[in-house]
Amino acid sequence: MADRYSRQKLFKPIGVNGQEKIGEKHILILGCGALGTANAENLVRAGIGKLTIIDRDYVEFSNLHRQHLFTEQDAIDQVPKVIAAKSKLEEINSDARIEAHILDATAVSLRPHLKEVDLVIDATDNFDTRFMLNDLLQQLNIPWIYGSCVGSTGMSYTILPKQTPCLHCLLDAAPPNGATCDSVGIISPAVQMVVAHQTTEAMKLLIEDRDSLRATLVTFDLWKNHYQTVNVDKAKDSACPSCGMHATYPYLDYGATTKTEILCGRNTVQIRASREIHLAELANHLKKVGEVKGNGFLLSMDYQSYRVVFFQDGRTLIHGTDSIEKAKKIYYQLVG
């Protein structure tokens, strides 16, 4: 096992010193879907000291075509994604310390997990969360690497607080979601292309080789054979509310008030209650309505044409609709 990283140490920019630094660092990956699992696998194989993975979701069959680490059995068992990922990652590298949290990321829920984090990798699937993350990391002075993909396209950009333009400098506001995995699909190479850029940038930051960082935003379309970089030097806005002279971090409040949301590519609505759900108690109640399955982490049941899944932390997923109204109706019919 001594020469486990030998080929990585031979890569001159990393070397023996770089490998040691990688082993001392702590990365948080927000999201454990396509981008999250592939970044996690790379970093754990590369010898990251500590990895925190945060995700609110569980494994489904429709994830398997693009999400690494997960198997059919994980989908059959509806294992929470971070739990399934952690178990695979530990088989790959038993030296890595992996913290897995089944958690819906808000400014409030995320903050305690950002203590002593060197770098955050964006593996979320929506701009609401990214703008919240952008504000939070500007405030806490933690670098992060934006990544996103849909269809055969993707983007990546490395954000250093107090130095580079932030996400809010580049986009005036969270754009209305145009293309999602649900509307235009996704192929796995688009995921890996983004991840290749994110992991490389992460390695540069881990070994403190900031001169090699990519200063540009990358965008590509693998099916159309297109690759372009955008120089964003001029995008830094001194009046930016998220990273400017008088930053007010506007998205730190916004996130906290969102109580329902449509999940990207899922035909699913999430409803987030302000209190935890007592699963056993709820299961007892739901038995009267239909067959309830539970695995200790969640309860699930089929109801009308929907599948409804309850998590202990207060969230409920209504599968089979992208209407918030319909979802709320179902929810209140079941939970009362």
Partner: protein, 77 residues
């Protein structure tokens, strides 16, 4: 002549990935307005713009010979 590159779903809306316009000079905003008169490109209000591979704002100038790329932000992951 100004060359306009369309990315991602903008290509499908317009039916091609490149438009050439015989214009000498205008701003990014004026270019967006002109395009919206010809094509159903409502999304242009929410795209990132690059002129010759450099980030550009709505008030940035575009001159004959420039290549303008409209890049819709991607949200999936």
């Amino acid at each position: 002549m100004i060359t306009i590159l369309l990315f991602a779903h903008l290509q499908e809306t317009v039916g091609k990935d490149r438009i050439e316009l015989p214009i000498e000079q205008l701003t990014v905003m004026e270019l967006k307005t002109a395009l919206k008169q010809t094509y159903p490109l409502l999304e242009l209000d929410h795209v990132m713009t690059a002129v010759n591979e450099e980030f550009a704002r709505d008030n940035s100038k575009v001159t004959a010979g420039d290549i303008v790329a409209f890049i819709p932000p991607v949200s999936g992951g």
